[in-house]
């Protein structure tokens, strides 16, 4: 009975896509309700499975259809199936009216269902071939969903960027799968993981340990999917697609990188250097995403870079061995970013009538990015930047474990607390609170939620996803760096934050003093750099044009034969 239920979760959206395609002519647009009903059923079934998993009645169920068609339902896949089907259901319901005026209404729902089925298959894949197929299909369906409006060449242009980046990311996954098959002679993931745990260093590739090479390839695949540094340019530009697709993409699809790293946790647990590189890439992505988010004047593009930053955090969490924290992060991010996208239209609509902007200095400083004349906002910002992470660390130390300061996971809390705390302050400020005490209480409550969320809930996730304490320790060990390097890293990051604020403050204060030229020029250069998005887009466009021009020249030389 249970395997049938599991299979049904994936088959329901597929069946719905088929029914819609076949009966759209007879029933018309009402056929979209079939899709919603099927997705709702998937949510209910996933919920039931999660409940059974939590109560211990369902442990690692797998269905083997053929040697390369295995569905595997463990804690990770059940949790992800629920998240995916739930986000998909919200997007379906929202699209029912949002897409009503658009052409290709039925096609949109068919594609939405196929995408949901691919994502569900991806998280439930118990073998490498099924994983590759689902991974590939997500990219293909996303391309067509982003290009829903076939009259819009611009939408397709940017959908192509997404498609090609995803294809680039598919290739390391294929290579990793092939290497694993060569080594273990099977496509089955549970079998590979079992063999690996028994003899981690039994195989090598070009003199390197197999987990090291495969881990690096998997990380590359995850980077492309989660818009990490150098493979990020597609994400902010895919805003010409329908808003529900943006919501689905930012809330669900880009998180696949975090899922992939978690799925292959047994591989990463046996690496020595890969997770450190994962951390560095995540860190760079988080910083660049956050910087570029600030300079955008388009709300959707700004959200795109915000997602890049959040994905950077998620990858960073994997890089320090906090794999379950990354899953919690991707769920939390999915919920809040999905909400933001789905409400973006209403915000724009209401802003046209009334911008609702309280015109005072703190707001213009924080939201409009205009510099403040008085010191109050500067000091407040500096205080937030330093105090929030400190508060979180102290609370963690006090509530969770005394050695929390020594754990390298603290560094992510430091960063996340820094960004999230600042954002929470802005959000509470926008509640137009006149009463200072009320504002302070709301802020403290918000911090408490962050702390509880990031410490207790993530701990619960850890127990649920990785119940084996020894394995958890192994993951942290694989991600650990020498203490001296860790201390230097914390010192450097803190220094950057403090110096950043000091430079901003003094350059603004000394704007009309002796040397305005140098600081002014420096700021202009920096602004030019970030407004051109570090020239990555230009560089990739140049590379594309060069390849196309070479192809054209070759054709002319060879007389088109």
């Amino acid at each position: 009975m249970m395997p049938k239920l599991i299979l049904l979760i994936i088959l329901l959206p597929l069946l719905s896509a088929l029914l819609m395609h076949l009966f759209a002519g007879q029933i018309g647009r009402c056929v979209a309700r079939v899709s919603i009903a099927a997705t709702l059923l998937s949510v209910i079934l996933s919920g039931v499975l999660l409940w059974l998993s939590l109560t211990g009645d369902l442990v690692g169920q797998s269905i083997s259809i053929s040697p390369w068609t295995i569905l595997y339902f463990d804690s990770l896949s059940i949790l992800m199936a629920l998240v995916i089907s739930l986000i998909s259901l919200i997007v379906h319901i929202y699209s029912l009216r949002y897409m009503a005026e658009e052409s290709g209404y039925v096609r949109f729902f068919v594609l939405l269902d196929l995408m949901t089925a691919s994502l569900l298959l991806m998280v439930a894949a118990g073998d490498l071939i099924t994983l590759i197929i689902a991974w590939h299909f997500v990219g293909v369906f996303l391309y067509f969903l982003l290009g829903q409006d076939t009259r819009n060449p611009s939408a397709y242009r940017y959908a192509f960027w997404t498609f090609i980046t995803y294809r680039i990311g598919d290739l390391p996954l294929v290579l990793a799968a092939v290497l694993l098959f060569q080594a273990y002679g099977t496509w089955s993931l549970p079998f590979i993981f079992e063999q690996l745990s028994q003899a981690p260093n039994a195989h090598s590739v070009f003199g390197l340990a197999l987990p090291e090479v495969v881990g690096m390839l998997l990380a590359l695949a995850a980077f492309a999917r989660s818009a990490q540094f150098l493979l990020h340019t597609w994400l902010p530009y895919t805003m010409d697609g329908p808003t529900p697709v943006s919501a689905l993409m930012h809330a669900g699809i880009v998180n696949a990188g975090g899922f992939l790293i978690n799925r292959f946790a047994p591989i990463f647990a046996n690496t020595s250097d890969v997770l450190q590189w994962v951390f560095i890439v995540g860190f760079i992505s988080a910083v660049i995403g956050s910087i570029l988010m600030l300079v955008q004047n388009d709300i959707k593009k700004s959200l795109g870079y915000s997602t890049m930053g959040q994905m950077g955090f998620m990858i960073m969490e994997c890089g320090i061995g906090a794999f379950s924290l990354a899953i919690y992060h991707l769920i939390a991010h999915g919920v809040f970013k999905g909400t933001l996208f789905l409400s973006a239209g209403s915000v724009i609509n209401s802003a046209r009538k009334n911008d609702g902007v309280p015109k005072d200095e703190l707001y213009t400083f924080v939201v409009e990015k205009r510099s403040a004349r008085t010191r109050k906002p500067w000091l407040l910002m500096a205080a937030i930047t330093l105090l929030v992470p400190l508060a979180i660390l102290i609370f963690s130390h006090w509530l969770v474990a005394e050695d929390y300061f020594q754990k390298q996971g603290a560094i992510v809390l430091l960063f996340f607390g820094w960004i999230t705390g600042a954002q929470l302050i802005f959000a509470t400020y926008r509640t137009h609170a006149q009463n200072l005490w009320r504002l302070v209480i709301i802020s403290i409550l918000s911090f408490a939620i962050v702390i509880i969320g990031y410490i207790f809930i993530s701990h619960a996730f850890e127990i649920f996803l990785y119940p084996d304490a020894a394995f958890r320790e192994k993951l942290y060990l694989a991600a650990s760096i020498e203490k001296i390097r860790f201390d230097i890293l914390v010192a450097v990051i803190t220094t950057i934050i403090v110096v950043g604020w000091l430079v901003a403050y003094y350059s603004e204060r000394n704007r009309k003093s002796k040397h305005p030229k140098y600081t002014g020029r420096l700021w202009t250069m920096f602004y030019a750099l970030i407004s051109r998005e570090f020239y990555f887009t230009d560089l990739y466009s140049l590379l594309t044009r060069t390849i196309l021009s070479t192809a054209n020249k070759l054709n002319i030389w060879l007389r088109w034969n």
Partner: protein, 254 residues
């Protein structure tokens, strides 16, 4: 393998510059039936020649085949003619068949070849359909097929996806098989194969965008006739069979 046989095989499992013969011939032949016959027959002649000699293919031929495949995959990026795109993809694909000539089962090898060529035959038929409707099968010439002839556009999308080795179609599994075979003995070939696969995807999407995207020009919208129910379902059935055969084939391959 005697040199003359090798040369002959390199003409039919096209290796550059002999590949130019097939491409010139394909572009000269305008009739769709003749084009389909060329696509069906050409690579099988090459395979038959190789298997008739029962000699091991030298390694340098494999390098040459890969170079040919890369060359044509790259050149596909700059093409606008659907027919020419089809013949270049055929060249790029068939050149790769040299990599699996160590396969002792000749029948199976012919079957794989048929599997990867079938989408190209369907594309040749669609290309002819475009020529009948618009007078030419070029990208960025009329555009907006998704608006003007949606059923035709839908079939075209799936056929192109099948041609560029999208999962579940035979091309995908054969590509995976080649990667698997080369990864142990020829890692450089594995990387090249992955690069070729990427170029196919790029070229395929460029072709699609040039045909289906955009606003249909007012003149064409009235003239163009979409597929009728029967024709559309004929293509769908062939594609489903192709997909199922891909999955079935994979049972053997993997």
């Amino acid at each position: 393998m005697p040199d003359s046989f090798l040369l002959l095989a390199a003409l039919f499992l096209p290796l550059f510059p002999l590949s130019m013969v097939f491409n010139a011939l394909y572009n000269r032949v305008q009739h769709v039936v003749l084009r389909c016959i060329l696509l069906i027959g050409w690579p099988h002649i090459g395979l038959a020649i190789i298997y008739s000699t029962e000699t091991i293919v030298p390694t340098w031929i494999v390098a040459w085949a890969l170079a040919t495949s890369v060359l044509y995959a790259l050149r596909m990026l700059a093409l606008r003619g659907v027919g020419q795109w089809n013949s270049f993809l055929a060249t790029s694909m068939w050149a790769m068949l040299w990599l699996s000539t160590t396969d002792t089962n000749q029948g199976l090898h012919h079957l794989y070849t048929f599997g990867v060529t079938t989408p190209l035959i369907l594309l040749a038929l669609l290309s002819s359909g475009l020529e009948k409707r618009f007078g030419a099968a070029y990208t960025d010439l009329y555009g907006g097929l998704a608006q003007s002839i949606p059923r035709f556009a839908g079939v075209l999308v799936v056929v192109i996806l099948a041609a560029i080795a999208t999962p579940l179609f035979p091309g995908f599994f054969i590509m995976l098989k080649l990667i698997l075979e080369t990864s142990e003995t020829m890692p450089a070939a594995t990387f090249t194969l992955l690069g070729i696969w990427l170029l196919w995807s790029w070229a395929g999407v460029r072709l699609l965008q040039g045909l289906i995207v955009g606003t249909a020009s007012s003149g064409n919208e009235g003239e163009a006739v979409d597929f009728n129910f029967l024709t559309c379902w004929s293509y769908v059935i062939v594609l489903i069979v192709l997909m199922l055969s891909g999955v079935y084939l994979a049972g053997d391959l993997l």
